[in-house]
């Protein structure tokens, strides 16, 4: 699929709290924002992609609300990483001639709707075969990620201080983002002295809850080249699922090990070629495990890779989440995948904040994990290139 499609529009909603907007309106506003960014109009859209955050059944309600005429739809849902997977699927659909201009939207308003913090339960159905073997024990999103962190610490000696550096880097970036929800830099000590919520994770190891959303537009090369925006080529893309494997579990790695390797292989580049990475940061441990899985550092060496501010733009070999990420900037609808794509597009275009823009950023990764690292989850990886 290399080079068959480009990201031409990207837009992040400026709001982090949206009590006076409907969910459909937020989806609509980000769609219009991405169209304006691309220099395209609503009638150019002939493919629509959405995840589990969309109101109603799959694409129906939003296609109706926006009065779109589409010939290709895809509502694949792998949780928060869905939108990264949608870019992959959009590139495939474009290459196959199924659509020309694909719109992908994400939106949500959990902050206004008062979702409980700390112990968020997953969306469960009693018909899930795994339900009775997990939910009765008090499984939450938080405590399953905590068990991954605990095991990683046990096997590799990873420390809470190293995890704290991931939050510190996010906060250093977020101070330059005027729309970020948390803009005040924090220290390692502040993270480690924040309340222990699920050992070994502290409150500041966890992402924020925010309203808002984002959208991107993917199109074929000839349309992309007709527009007046910097060209962001989809050079490699892949997805994967990791699960409990009948009881053969290993909580120290994620599906990113597989989607990352496949995306790099398709792109024909190595992790060391990447100048910037957007990595899913539902929790600090999520970032650390993904850095190892994608091959940015050796397995078990993530702690050393993130320590001492090395993820801060300009301070290490790889800048990560320069918008402030889900830890400080935005985690709309509890789904961080869309904002991962958007900041990677900004970096490739050279449109990130000057304080965090990576010089000569010709190759970037946007990678996400959806579902739960500690049970079953999907991952999706994009390698983006400036042309």
């Amino acid at each position: 699929m290399t080079g068959h499609a480009y990201i031409v529009g990207a837009y992040e909603h400026p709001l982090r709290k949206a009590p006076d907007r409907s969910l459909a309106q937020l989806h609509g506003e980000v769609a219009l924002g991405a169209l304006a960014d691309a220099g395209l109009s609503k009638n150019d859209i002939d493919g629509y992609f959405c995840g589990g955050d969309v109101p109603g059944t799959g694409p129906f309600s939003m296609v109706d609300y926006l009065n779109l005429k589409v010939r290709h739809v895809d509502s694949s849902n792998i949780g928060g990483a869905s939108y990264i997977l949608h870019v992959n699927h959009a590139a495939q659909a474009i290459a196959a001639g199924k659509c020309n201009v694909a719109l992908i939207t994400l939106a949500g308003r959990p902050r206004s709707e008062g979702v409980p913090k700390g112990g968020l339960k997953r969306a469960d159905s009693p018909a899930q075969p795994d339900y009775a073997w997990e939910t009765p024990f008090g499984m939450t999103i938080l405590n399953t990620y905590a068990m991954c962190a605990k095991r990683h610490m046990h096997e590799y000696g990873t420390t809470s201080e190293q995890l704290a550096w991931i939050k510190v880097a996010a906060s250093q970036h977020a101070q330059h983002n005027p729309n970020a929800m948390l803009r005040t830099p924090v220290t390692v000590e502040e993270v480690m002295h924040s309340p222990l919520v699920a050992d070994p994770l502290h409150k500041l190891d966890c992402c924020i809850v925010s309203d808002g959303g984002g959208a991107v537009i993917v199109t074929r090369p000839e349309i992309a080249k007709s527009l007046r925006r910097p060209l962001v080529k989809i050079r490699g893309a892949a997805e994967s699922v990791k699960h409990m494997a009948g009881g053969d579990i290993d909580l120290t790695y994620s599906a990113g090990r597989f989607s990352g390797a496949a995306a790099f292989a398709e792109a024909g580049v190595r992790p060391s070629d990447i100048k910037y990475a957007s990595l899913y940061d539902s929790f600090t441990i999520t970032v650390l495990i993904q850095l190892e899985d994608l091959g940015f550092c050796e397995r078990g060496k993530g702690g050393a890779f993130v320590a001492d501010g090395k993820l801060i733009s300009g301070q290490g070999p790889l800048a990560v989440n320069t918008d402030g990420g889900g830890l400080c900037n935005n985690h709309p609808a509890h789904r961080g995948g869309m904002t991962k794509i958007i900041e990677a597009v900004r970096q490739i275009r050279g449109e990130a904040h000057p304080a965090v823009q990576v010089g000569g950023c010709d190759l970037a990764v946007a990678h996400g994990t959806g579902g739960m690292l500690g049970t079953r989850h999907g991952s999706a990886t994009l390698v983006l290139e400036r042309v």
């Binding site: 009765p136 309340p195 009881g247």
Partner: protein, 127 residues
């Protein structure tokens, strides 16, 4: 009806596990084709796809693979993964154990206790 009871009603595949657990017996699903145990129990072996699976009594012993204390809950509780002596690792809760006695690798044994809705659950405690 509790959510767990609703889930069990959706899963005739595993009814025997829960009726036997209520009588104090902890069963594991084994595959008669590849001879491996698996978790969570299912009619189709996740290792070799054989449908020749059967329930066998299990030791109820294992070791802590990982755990976390949910501190914001009232009261706080310990979620855990336990690797059973028979091989598979299962999610559970560690009970009757001081938090500071917990560690990865420590041996645990089955402690059947009723959950919030009165249904007996396969929990564990330190040996």
């Amino acid at each position: 009806m509790s959510a767990l009871q609703e889930a069990l009603d959706h899963q005739p595949e595993n009814r025997k596990f829960w009726t036997e657990l209520a009588e104090g017996r902890f069963l594991l699903k084994y595959c008669n084709s590849c001879q491996r145990a698996h978790w969570y129990p299912r009619a189709i072996c996740p290792h070799c796809a054989s449908q020749e699976t059967e329930w066998r009594p299990a030791s109820g012993r294992g070791r802590i693979y990982s755990y976390s204390i949910s501190r914001t809950a009232s009261p706080p509780y310990v979620i855990a993964y336990v690797t059973l002596d028979e091989g598979p690792t299962m999610m559970t809760r560690i009970v009757n154990t001081p938090f500071d006695a917990l560690a990865i690798g420590k041996p645990v044994e089955l402690a059947i206790e009723r959950g919030e809705d009165g249904i007996p659950l396969p929990l564990f405690q330190l040996v």
